[in-house]
């Protein structure tokens, strides 16, 4: 069983190499990518079942015991997020293939896209599965380097400028991450997470708190926590639809995952949660207000993405089982819903030729199916019942009310307000883009780049895959019963660090 843990990392890397070689043959690339991601999804499912039945599944890479070697660990949280992420990546991949086929003909290959996408999935998988702080840095690097290529591929001058913002901020965060790893190793002599969780307890209070906050800040850049979020709305919206969708769905969540994992496993209960609550409040409100101020649909969605990261910090900062249960549900919900929204936004701009809300109108009349695909995740993001966002939000609100401190009440109220502001933004999109008289598409500003708008052509795979990701979001709501009990068990694991530590450090002493 434990060998399975390596597959989500190794399979896509191997496939990426093959894919690069197979470059010009579109069909080979497509079959390879789809089958590899499907296989990883199956592996993730198996890992989830195994982790949920018993202890976390642990692999000591090369057979070296911690703290000497690297361990890969699939506990409930990692396996669940891996499964959801890969399923969404698969949906986005099909969308990308459909888009390529309908824009450039079915045989047209995009040499770099598939290998990079596979490397990205390897990086994401490694980030979830690794039990080693330095290896987490490597995972981030793998993921980010692939994302640099994806965001700047087949581009034009304005998009190069936008991707510069992305690349430079990401490089800054990597540099800070590396510095942080050095501090950790200097202070404790180990980078294995399970091993660290004992050793950090022994550090003096000030150093511990400093390290905890340093980690929040470093990962907060990737997670787009206010005030470290500015890069995101300036860079994401310019990328091609599938790239934006997968970035928005996954990359920020990997940052959030890193925060959750390190704060719970390494630091446990400490005194700075009020600070994190304040950050959550700020993130929710600044993001939501930013969304309302936008006229560009994709920029609006990017600000909403920032805003809803606040919900996840909120649950973490409560630091109770209920709060963490809410965070896990929220992350799962948000991965699917945010990716779906960007995909559907891509469908919309293909018909309108523009992402400017002022210039589009009447999409519901000309393309009722696209409108329906937009409405469901939009309402879900606003937390309206009976959709997935509602379930996750209710768990968080209840957790906030149970904690019952003044600060918790304030942030709970802010969460409700953010929900309203999200709905406000979505209502504006609906009223100005979907209702009204249909307007002719605005011509594509730069028809030569990868961002194709206004073609009016969508293929069945695009609609079906966008629909599939929307359905994945609906499934989160439909399966809320088993999912929430699973999340509760995962949250309990996070607070009780024992099982993880035992599985990694004692697991198989041979």
């Amino acid at each position: 069983m434990s060998t399975l843990v390596a597959l989500p990392v190794l399979l896509p890397l191997l496939a990426a190499a093959l894919s690069l070689v197979a470059g010009p043959i579109a069909a080979v690339q497509r079959v390879l990518s789809v089958s590899v991601l499907t296989a990883i999804a199956a592996v993730a499912g198996a890992l989830l079942v195994a982790a949920d039945r018993g202890a976390p599944v642990v692999l000591r890479v090369g057979g070296y015991a911690p703290p000497m070697g690297i361990t890969l660990v699939a506990d409930r949280l990692a396996a669940l997020l891996l499964l959801v992420s890969i399923v969404v990546m698969l949906g986005v991949l099909v969308f990308a293939i459909g888009q390529r086929a309908s824009d450039h003909g079915p045989r047209s290959a995009s040499v770099a896209f598939h290998p990079m996408y596979l490397v990205l999935s390897a990086g994401v998988s490694l980030a979830y599965l690794t039990g080693d702080l330095f290896n987490l840095f490597v995972a981030f690097e793998v993921m980010l380097s692939a994302s640099y290529v994806l965001i700047s591929r087949r581009t034009n001058a304005p998009r190069v400028r936008a991707s510069m913002t992305y690349v430079i901020v990401s490089l800054t965060s990597s540099l800070l991450f590396l510095t942080m790893v050095a501090f950790v190793y200097a202070a404790t002599g180990t980078v294995n997470l399970a091993d660290l969780s004992g050793r950090i307890d022994a550090l003096p209070e000030g150093a511990k708190a400093g390290l905890a906050l340093l980690m929040v800040v470093v990962f907060g850049i990737k997670a787009a926590v206010v005030p470290l979020h500015f890069w995101l709305p300036d860079s994401y919206p310019t990328a091609p639809t599938p790239v934006t969708a997968v970035f928005a769905g996954l990359l920020t969540k990997v940052g959030v995952y890193a925060i959750i994992r390190t704060q719970t496993l390494l630091f446990g209960e400490h005194g700075d949660w009020a600070f994190l609550l304040a950050v959550a409040l700020l993130t929710m409100l600044v993001g939501a207000l930013g969304a309302i101020a936008q006229n560009d649909l994709n920029r609006m969605l990017s600000f909403l993405l920032v805003s809803h990261i606040g919900y996840m910090l909120f649950g973490l900062a409560l630091f109770t089982v209920a709060g963490l249960t809410g965070v896990i549900l929220y992350v799962v919900h948000h991965i699917a819903v945010q990716a779906a929204l960007f995909l559907v936004s891509g469908l919309v701009t293909r018909h309108t030729g523009t992402a400017s809300l002022r210039d589009m109108s009447g999409v519901a009349r000309t393309h009722p199916r696209v409108a329906a695909l937009f409405a469901l995740p939009a309402l879900s993001l606003a937390g309206l019942p009976p959709l997935s966002g509602f379930v996750a939000k209710v768990v968080l609100l209840r957790a906030g009310a149970e904690v019952a401190t003044p600060m918790a009440y304030v942030v709970t109220a802010a969460a409700v307000l953010t929900s309203f502001l999200t709905l406000y933004a979505m209502a504006r999109v609906w009223v100005s883009a979907f209702w009204g008289e249909p307007s002719p598409p605005v011509p594509d500003v730069d028809p030569t780049d990868e961002v194709t708008v206004g073609t009016g052509v969508t293929s069945k795979p695009m609609l079906a895959s966008a629909g599939g990701v929307v359905v994945a979001g609906l499934a989160v709501a439909a399966l809320a019963g088993p999912l929430s009990t699973l999340s509760e068990r995962a949250a309990t694991d996070l607070l009780d660090r024992g099982p993880y530590r035992a599985a990694v450090l004692e697991g198989s002493s041979g």
Partner: protein, 776 residues
């Protein structure tokens, strides 16, 4: 009863398909299903059915628990009964082959399902769920096909206002539920929580009630929603949506009626709304708007009755709930007939319809009589009970009674305005007036007949209303047509007379009070709130999201320094006593690195800056060598050299000097300098702090040294670590290198093809470029 809700949702799902095939018959199908749910409810209630539960996500507290008691059944009668009538009416109201039949039918049936779920729910979260569903349904119904700007605005306003209230209510219910330790409505009512949290919870729930039931100052969404088709308005007003708030007050009153935080806002705002709504109704020319403000007014009345928690008031409230549903649906449906068949619903243009359509006029007159409180209709019976409930000696009752009487006078006056405006006059012009038709007239007649039956035999209404009111105490009063010469009868007579006089003097009265509503125009408040919110959003965002990358990186650095520094200061920092250097050679190397780094910002030419940066790297390589890590030093020097070579290649394409940043203020320059220096100093400090925390060498390090030879067969430990102990890291880093190479190649290719594309055409010659793209 869960099956009834599910059946309605399922029916809604198939109705668009039905409508595509059979057109208006979709409404009839919906009507039958809705009526069937009423039948089921009656059967289940008499059979002693009580509760039923379906788990959804128990961890989240989400389960569908339904309970059918007297209040729920009373609401079901309204929701399903009037729903069936409205849907039947729609079969003829809609034109044959009209677009949007499928949508309207489906959303109306879904609306009925949501309302049914709302009134049956016995847990707060599914109550909230259905509550928001009704908001979304009304958004879709009011917006219609989204082509009319007015409809879009009204739909958005209704959505925003009711969902804002809904969210407040959700928070309130969660606070109450958490304080009480239960999310069941029945358990919450049985043992209501106390304390400050409960006060906040109640206030938040009331915000939900006031928005949903169109109370001051949230009411303007309801008149604005009159752009919807008239059957939709009828349903919205008589049974669904606005009744949700009233229902919630009726449901929670047994728990909170004693508390001032509950009844004071309800009574004050209810009375104010009752009077203001009646006043505004009196000034309308549009029949639908007149009725809409009438609803606003009556909803205030209902809230007052249901809030105070005495047996008689609750009995009157429940009876008026029924009465209002019946007469308001009949009157709206009448207005719809007039609108479609006479072509207008402006009272200044209508004339003589009473003679043309005597049957419809008779039905409308009876319904209006019920609204004004004339015997022998159920409206009279309810109003008598209401007057009785407040005819007491204590000052609170007296004050409320004055408000209620004032509101009732206005009700009588606007009722007359409606009736005479719609059907009065001699009808001089023949005009092209169609016939109402059997279906439409019957649909109006059904609720009117029910009003008469319940008026003549009020015992039937009391079966349910009395059962509900029973929670507030013993039955001290009964619904009767004739109680003898009692004070309420006298009050009724005064109200009728005063109302008639007011109607006669409408013109003078409205002129006198014209200044009043201008001050209290809540619609202006809504617009100001929207404009204010957008301005706030733009203000905040334009200040924060400057688009400047240096600013973003600067903020990141400041946060990275500031936040962990606060954490460090929370604990005592141990005395740091670092050695200055291990080897004297470190000193010149460090000075060299620092000097080179300090010079970089002042370099004019790109190449100089790159060389200086390289110098820093070489100096650090030298330090590695001095402290005994020759392999690290070698790696550092190699990487540095390679970077320099690449830089020199790239720089060939750049202008040699840096572009002068124009007009960069000295302040900004200094800020950058400070941030950069602080960042460096902070990292240096942290390095000192963290490396002084560990006394022993690392276990992992020791293990590497010990097992490099045996395990990895390596004499170089660093090699063993890279290719064996931590090979996974290396795999990742190699991947990164390959990816970077691919990315660089792809960027280079893109740039080359872009140049090729750009060469043959002049700048901005888009047409040709597009042609080229097509042929390519």
């Amino acid at each position: 009863m869960l099956i009834a809700i599910a059946a309605l949702v399922a029916t809604a799902a198939v109705l668009p398909a039905v409508a595509r095939r059979w057109g208006r018959a979709a409404f009839a199908v919906g009507s039958v299903v809705v009526l069937a749910t009423l039948g089921l409810a009656l059967v289940r209630y008499t059979a002693g059915y009580r509760t039923e539960s379906l788990a959804w996500a128990p961890v989240a507290g989400l389960e569908f628990t339904v309970r059918l008691d007297a209040l729920a059944l009373l609401m079901t009668v309204l929701v399903s009964g009037i729903g069936a009538v409205v849907l039947a009416y729609f079969t003829r109201y809609a034109s044959r082959g009209e677009e949007g039949i499928g949508r309207d039918a489906a959303v109306l049936v879904l609306f009925a399902g949501a309302m049914l779920g709302l009134v049956l729910a016995d847990d707060v979260l599914s109550l909230y769920l259905f509550w928001e569903l009704t908001s979304i349904c009304s958004f879709l119904l009011v917006g219609g096909n989204g082509l009319k700007g007015e409809a879009r605005r009204a739909a958005k306003q209704a959505l925003l206002v009711t969902i804002l209230g809904g969210l407040a209510m959700l928070l309130g219910l969660i606070l109450l539920g958490t304080a009480a330790g239960t999310f069941r409505v029945s358990e919450l009512v049985a043992s209501p929580p106390g304390g400050g949290v409960a006060v906040a919870g109640i206030v938040l729930v009331l915000v939900g009630v006031f928005t949903k039931s169109a109370q001051l100052p949230f009411h303007p969404w309801l008149p604005a929603a009159m752009v919807a088709p008239t059957p939709v308005s009828a349903y919205l007003h008589a049974a669904a949506m606005v009744k949700a708030g009233v229902y919630l007050v009726a449901r929670l009153a047994p728990a909170f009626a004693e508390r001032p935080v509950w009844w004071v806002p309800l009574v004050v705002i209810g009375l104010a709304t009752m009077v203001l709504g009646g006043w505004r109704a009196l000034r309308q020319h549009d029949l639908k708007l007149l009725l809409a403000f009438g609803t606003v007014s009556q909803l205030g009345f209902l809230l007052v009755l249901l809030a105070v928690g005495t047996y008689t008031a609750a009995l009157a409230g429940a009876a008026l709930l029924l009465a209002h549903g019946l007469f308001k649906s009949a009157l709206f449906l009448t207005a719809g007939v007039i609108d479609t068949r006479a072509g207008t619903r402006d009272v200044r243009e209508l004339s003589g319809l009473g003679r043309r359509w005597p049957l419809l006029a008779a039905c409308a007159t009876l319904a209006a009589a019920s609204m004004a409180g004339l015997p022998p209709l159920v409206g009279f019976v309810a109003k008598e009970a209401a007057f009785k409930a407040f005819t007491h000696a204590d000052p609170r009752s007296a004050l409320v009674l004055v408000g209620v009487l004032a509101g009732s006078v206005l009700t009588v006056a606007y009722t007359l305005r409606f009736l005479i405006g719609a059907f009065g006059g001699r009808g001089a012009e023949p005009g092209e007036v169609g016939r109402p038709g059997v279906v439409l007239t019957t649909a109006v007649a059904v609720p009117v007949a029910a009003s008469v039956v319940l008026g003549v035999a009020p015992g039937v209404a009391e079966l349910l209303a009395g059962d509900y009111a029973g929670v507030f105490g013993a039955a001290t009063y009964h619904l009767e047509l004739w109680h003898g010469f009692t004070p309420p009868l006298l009050e009724s007579a005064i109200v009728l007379a005063a109302g008639y006089l007011l109607y006669r003097r409408t013109a003078a009265a409205t002129r006198a009070g014209a200044a009043l509503p201008g001050v209290l125009d809540a619609q202006r408040g809504y617009r100001a709130a929207v404009v204010g919110l957008e301005a706030l959003a733009r203000g905040v965002t334009s200040r924060l999201q400057t688009g400047s990358l240096p600013a973003y990186v600067g903020i990141i650095l400041v946060t990275v320094i500031g936040v962990p520094a606060v954490g460090l200061l929370t604990g005592p920092i141990e005395q740091l006593s670092p050695r200055a250097w291990n080897s004297a050679l470190q000193l010149p190397l460090t000075v060299l690195a620092l000097a080179a780094a300090a010079t970089v910002p002042f370099a004019r030419r790109r190449l100089t800056a790159v060389l200086l940066t390289g110098l820093v790297g070489y100096a650090i390589g030298g330090v590695f060598l001095v402290v005994g890590a020759p392999d690290l030093a070698l790696a550092q020097v190699l990487v540095e050299t390679l970077t320099l070579v690449v830089f020199v290649f790239v720089l060939r394409r750049f202008p040699p000097a840096f572009r002068r940043v124009e007009r960069e203020s000295p302040l900004r320059h200094r800020t950058r300098l400070v941030v950069a220096c602080a960042g460096g100093a902070f990292v240096a400090l942290l390095t000192l702090v963290f490396s002084s925390l560990r006394e022993r060498p690392s276990e992992a390090g020791a293990a590497y040294v010990a097992s490099a030879k045996d395990e990895a067969g390596a004499t170089n430990v660093v090699n063993a670590i890279i290719v064996d102990f931590r090979a996974l890291d290396t795999l990742g880093e190699i991947t990164v290198l390959l990816v970077a190479a691919t990315g660089a190649a792809s960027l280079g290719l893109a740039a080359r093809s872009a140049r090729r594309r750009a060469l043959p055409t002049a700048d901005g010659d888009r047409g040709q470029r597009e042609d080229e793209e097509v042929t390519a």
